[in-house]
Symmetry: D2
Subunit: 251 residues, 4 copies
């Protein structure tokens, strides 16, 4: 890493209790400034404040939708607030998806559209902005890796199932994108990875409930640890894809 | 098959020289009436006329776009022209896609949108209409299979590559849909299959050019033969997915 | 096909009630002479007699084991009995496997060895003999395809599972072989295919039992039909792999 | 970790310049005692001496072959030298394979046998010994994970190719085993992982040669870092499989 402060951008925070938030906290702890993009203003601000209170640097970017325009606009704001003179985008996480679990005939055209927009089209826009920023980083002996772009995938990223026609169509699409990007930009020192989260993610409330029981899902912190590992992988051995699931999961 | 005449619907005809047209001709030869859905009116009408001149029954349905509304509307017209009193939809082929081969940073948001609409959202609408029609077919000893829905896939359906971010995102999405449908509707006697066309399809002009050379691509007729085999598979052994490539292909 | 009579060789007959036997009967009906290789003499002879009584041409080759030597020796006998002057090997089916369903710690070294010998090493020997015979067939306009080599795979060919460590190690291995062969010999007009039989195969007794119930497995005849389709695929569109499962299967 | 010293066992050291040796060095640095199993005595002893000189604890176990008996016997010796009173096996790496790159018709039956024995049968024996040792570790709040068993895979683990029929049959088989084990033993706190090394591994001489050129392969140290990460994964998010390849690799 250069003298520039590393920046981490994450899109998709939900209620600040899942993977996106855990990743933001983790990258902050490791010295990254964090830019948070999401639609829900309250959770976004709460997470940003929490990180700042913890001594980290964070900024929220609330967007009305995951449209290409809104994402591009968020990145413009991020670039202004975290200028290249002091910051270098080093890691980006696309943690957005639209999960619908319905029999096929109950899925509406609007839900299909929303799944494709959120899981795929937004992923294109986010990737474009992140890669363009990565390309501004110099590639030299000290910084052999320009940046790491990570996608949060799901079981539905590799298997269509009865209730997941619309969800998995979007997740498959994002996975295709991640593979294309990994192949195209590896030689430029840009690392693209896709994590298949194969199980239930234990968000705040769920974790609380299961405290006295055998753990039944993935902790967001463990996922964040995987993302940190990916961001730190040396250039001679990069992972495009890994799966993550609880020890006791049936699969 | 019952006394009702079997009907085959295909969406995606292109210039009437590729897979969709070959499938229409083949299903017509095997006794199916054929309903042709496409955007290009001239090719559509030419193919319809050609099939009728050859003694088959065909009807063209030109639609302005592959939107859910336009596809649903085409199926309404098809139902009127091929009423349940005399016809039974037995096979449907979704042969639509939007191939863009470009470096990622040159892909526009509009192209991403077009790929997702054409390859995925349209596939949802087409599948919905076809499955609802299949469900009108009685399931009995004589007709153990209500119908077969086939998707034309591509190499890009299972592998993202440098120049295919947008194309493969759409094709991955359609593949996820086909797998979800195969799992959900098999028990209802509705067979959903996905063919990975792993090579160049030799359309009219391409075939002409290669006449004196070793064949270098897939003939649409061979693909159509595979589709006919899928439509005829017995209920105890259905294929969800097969690959098709020329004998001499490097892969 | 030339004036030479087409020959079909199958290894793995079991009790003559499953896939191997159904394939032998089907290829016989389509005009192939059939050479049957198996270890169980009684079933082997019974099937051979049955085919001959039905007007077909068949010969049994009982081998003590699926060792390379025994398989090579069987092919030598087949070549003597079905000489190139009158016959041409056109299709070969490797239908052998060693299914052990056991918790890992109960699997013995001998069972591992047996699974690898039967599912993989024997497949190498069988493939070698079949391909060498195929290569004796002339490749010309009338016979663009020298021959088709088919492997019977299983669910365990693509997924290791709790009780299948030894079975799936063997089936994975055979699948790797089939893919290597498909890639190497396609340009020589030799077609290699792998069928994933994803469900219970309904052999004689099982079919009998289920007569009054909804069909719950794959009929060997439907699998044989798939194999015949593969053998007949035109050179411009060959399938390496397809899955086969009952319509109502949960997967 | 308990007060017991963690032990790492690795099988497959080659010339002590590749993945197995790098992993031994890395686990030693992280505080593991290391038990080295291999066939080549000189490299084995050299590596063991090197680790001991560096302040680590190491012991070589030279075996005549990777047969089940020889591997079991090595583990018996390891158990004697690293008794449960002071040591706990916490990680094991199966780094053995037999790479043959030949056209199929040149592959001998002996080579097939050697590939299956080395890549698969030996993996069964190694896994059995490692898992039985892991089961001796107590599973409690402080030690939620009994141990981690890692397999070194290759491109040939998931794709058969023209020259790799025998190599990939073995590597496919080992991958099946690793998946079966991951599914069976996860609930017991035993983590099984499979790394697909998708590229050339830069061993000593190769690294030396490329010093002034752009790095063209995987460094063993980067692979070892991935293995250390796998061994440290928290129980709520375990990886069965990840791929590793150089940034600039074409794939």
């Amino acid at each position: 890493m250069s003298a520039l402060r590393p920046l981490f951008v994450v899109a998709g925070i939900g209620r600040a209790a899942g993977t996106g938030a855990a990743a933001a906290r983790r990258f902050s702890k490791e010295g990254y400034s964090v830019a948070l993009i999401a639609r829900g203003e309250d959770s976004l601000n709460a997470l940003s404040d929490e990180i700042k209170k913890g001594g980290g640097e964070a900024a929220p970017y609330c967007i009305p939708s995951y449209s290409a325009d809104d994402i591009t606009s968020a990145f413009t704001s991020i670039s202004a607030q975290f200028p290249n003179s002091h910051y270098a985008l080093r890691a980006a996480l696309f943690n957005v998806g639209y999960a619908v679990w319905k029999p096929f005939l109950e899925v509406t055209a609007a839900e299909v559209q929303e799944s494709l927009s959120t899981s795929v089209a937004a992923a294109f826009a986010f990737s474009r902005s992140a890669i363009l920023k990565f390309k501004e980083n110099k590639l030299d002996a000290e910084n052999p890796k320009r940046g790491t772009l990570i996608f949060t995938g799901a079981t539905a990223s590799t298997r269509g199932n009865k209730m997941t026609s619309s969800f998995s169509s979007g997740k498959f699409g994002a996975r295709a994108l991640s593979q294309s990007l990994a192949k195209e930009f590896g030689k430029d020192g840009i690392h693209v990875a896709h994590a298949i989260i194969d199980g239930q993610i234990m968000t705040g409330a769920a974790l609380e409930r299961s405290r006295d029981q055998p753990l039944s899902g993935l902790s967001p912190e463990s996922i964040a640890q995987a993302y940190m590992y990916l961001a730190n992988q040396e250039k001679s051995a990069w992972t495009w894809e890994l799966d993550l699931r609880p020890a006791q999961e049936q699969w």
